[in-house]
């Protein structure tokens, strides 16, 4: 019984602080007072009407989509090359692909600050997109190469021996089988960019403010209560996402 009690306490420690943001978002207080002195929807109205918050929200989506596309274009062929072939320098390639995961984000952020600054790309959506795209490479690679390792290549042999060419085999056999893994990889890349804060803070400048950067600045500079609304919406999205993924997994295990 003791482990269960400790586990429940641990889970409460994880969950309770996050839930604090929900009542805060309906609070009438202009500072971070908890419990709230009164409730209203005013800050929701402010969020959905203020350019100051909507623009970073849009930026975050655009950057995350761009970074995800960039990552996937690099990672999908790389994962095929890495998993299916043996070649010299494989360990080195693995280290290179994993490097953005090992290097602390604050170091990468400083690096991009200097590097993209020279290329006049700080404070641009493109600059943040490229940086986020690189940082998402390891996680997308891990997911997609794991999917590839679990893939039975006899399916391809069967298609080929039934007369399908390499291209038709790839489109009609390989891709559909690997699709779920690819989608998960793409989702991880998207979220890696969407949640990334440090690089955005360093290189976003005035013109490419993402949601985490805006939240960071709003905490540091002005204690804007709208941050509670944004936090609540983000928590809501995460809850929805986790529930959907659990539902899908349950359905797929039942089907199998």
């Amino acid at each position: 019984m003791l482990p269960v009690i400790l586990a429940v306490l641990g889970a409460l420690f994880l969950l309770a602080p996050i839930l604090v943001v929900v009542p805060m978002s309906f609070s009438t207080a202009i500072s971070f007072a908890f419990p709230p002195p009164g409730y209203w929807l005013g800050y929701y109205a402010k969020y959905f009407t203020s350019e100051e918050w909507l623009e970073p929200t849009l930026n975050s989506f655009v950057i995350a989509l761009g970074a995800m596309t960039f990552t996937m274009l690099l990672v999908v062929p790389a994962a095929f090359g890495y998993v299916r072939y043996r070649f010299r320098g494989k360990t080195l390639v693995n280290l290179l692909i994993m490097a953005p995961l090992i290097v602390p984000h604050v170091v990468s952020a400083l690096a991009y600050y200097g590097f993209l600054g020279r290329a006049k790309l700080t404070g641009t959506l493109l600059g943040v997109m490229v940086a986020h795209g690189m940082l998402a490479v390891p996680v997308a690679f891990l997911v997609i190469s794991a999917t590839l390792k679990g893939y039975d290549q006899n399916l391809e042999k069967a298609a080929m021996s039934s007369g399908a060419g390499p291209f038709r085999t790839f489109v009609h056999v390989t891709l559909p089988v690997l699709r779920p893994g690819m989608l998960v990889g793409a989702l991880f890349a998207f979220l890696s960019s969407f949640n990334e804060a440090v690089v955005s803070i360093f290189i976003g400048g005035r013109a490419a403010v993402t949601l985490p950067k805006k939240m960071y600045e709003s905490i540091r500079l002005e204690s804007d209560p709208v941050i509670a609304v944004v936090s609540t919406l983000l928590v809501g999205a995460v809850v929805l996402g986790v529930l959907i993924s659990m539902f899908l997994r349950r359905r797929s295990t039942h089907a199998a």
């Binding site: 400083l110 391809e156 985490p212 928590v235 809850v239 986790v242």
Partner: protein, 291 residues
């Protein structure tokens, strides 16, 4: 290694032709490798370069980091704080992962849902939550007042606050690493121990705990390394008096525009991180961390 051999065994015969095979592999890997070199390695190299050339060619920045007491304290503080956070994550996370791995049914599902939820909730949302909780108008200060304990101690903008925040944020990583290792433990081992007369506590100590050690090592590495370079939470919840490395980098850039010195600090952080990862690699093998 086993994976590579396996892949070789199932490879279609048409592709097994040395040079051509190598060329195909490199063609597939080239875009990613090229991008990583140009858009990741080169920028990092630029930091290395700046650390010894800005404002002029010298090792003076490094000398300052290791001789000026303020900066050596930052290094020690970062290291100690990271150790504390790792230990806290381990102590709090182990029972959660244990129950997730050992219990079937809704308890384990519920725990997994909560862990996944906090894992995917952004660092800023969670840091903001702690700002509310620890703030001077927050529930902790309120409880102090209500219980007649007088004024609450300063929780926000303190080492305590940032340690607590980082523990909360990194805990899901630890739990997931522990859970991944514990799930692989065959329940029959424990049954065997029990049938040989081991009490549950002894079976746990002598069988389960040693088998879960890979998870402990993986989780600790993950949390420790992330903590070394943690930025948002120490900056927002911590205090400039007990700075961590990332706060120092931020301060040097934001307030002093001292890129050379900031770069040198970043390089020290990078080397420390690589050293920890290399030690892990030597004893456990990196592929096991992300295998």
């Amino acid at each position: 290694m086993a994976g590579e051999l396996n892949a070789a065994a199932v490879r279609p015969a048409s592709l097994v032709g040395g040079a051509r095979r190598n060329a195909t592999a490199w063609l597939l890997l080239a875009p990613a490798c090229l991008a990583l070199v140009l858009l990741f390695v080169v920028p990092i190299g630029y930091v290395l370069l700046l650390s010894v050339t800005d404002p002029r060619l010298s090792l003076a920045h490094y000398e300052r980091i290791f001789t000026v007491p303020v900066y050596t304290r930052v290094m020690v503080n970062t290291f100690v704080t990271s150790l504390i956070v790792t230990a806290l994550c381990l102590v709090i996370g182990y029972p959660v992962a244990y129950v997730m791995a050992r219990r079937a049914g809704w308890v384990s599902t519920l725990l997994l849902t909560i862990v996944a939820m906090s894992f995917w909730t952004g660092f800023l949302v969670r840091t903001y939550a702690w700002l509310v909780i620890l703030g001077s108008k927050g529930p902790v200060a309120g409880a102090y007042g209500a219980l007649g304990l007088g004024k609450a101690p300063q929780l926000l903008f303190s080492t305590f606050g940032s340690t607590l925040g980082m523990t909360h944020i990194l805990l899901p990583y630890m739990i997931l690493a522990l859970y991944a290792a514990m799930r692989k433990i065959d329940a029959n081992h424990l049954k065997a121990a029990a049938s040989l007369g081991a009490r549950p506590a002894a079976a746990f100590r002598d069988v389960f705990l040693p088998l879960s050690l890979p998870g402990v090592v993986n989780g600790s590495l993950l949390v420790f390394v992330t903590c070394l370079g943690f930025f948002v939470t120490p900056v927002l919840l911590g205090t400039p008096r007990d700075m961590m490395i990332s706060q120092l980098i931020n301060q040097q850039i934001e307030e002093l525009l001292a890129f050379g010195f900031a770069s040198a600090v970043a390089v020290v952080l990078l080397i420390a991180t690589c050293a920890v990862v290399a030690i892990y690699n030597h004893y456990a093998g990196l592929d096991r961390l992300w295998g």
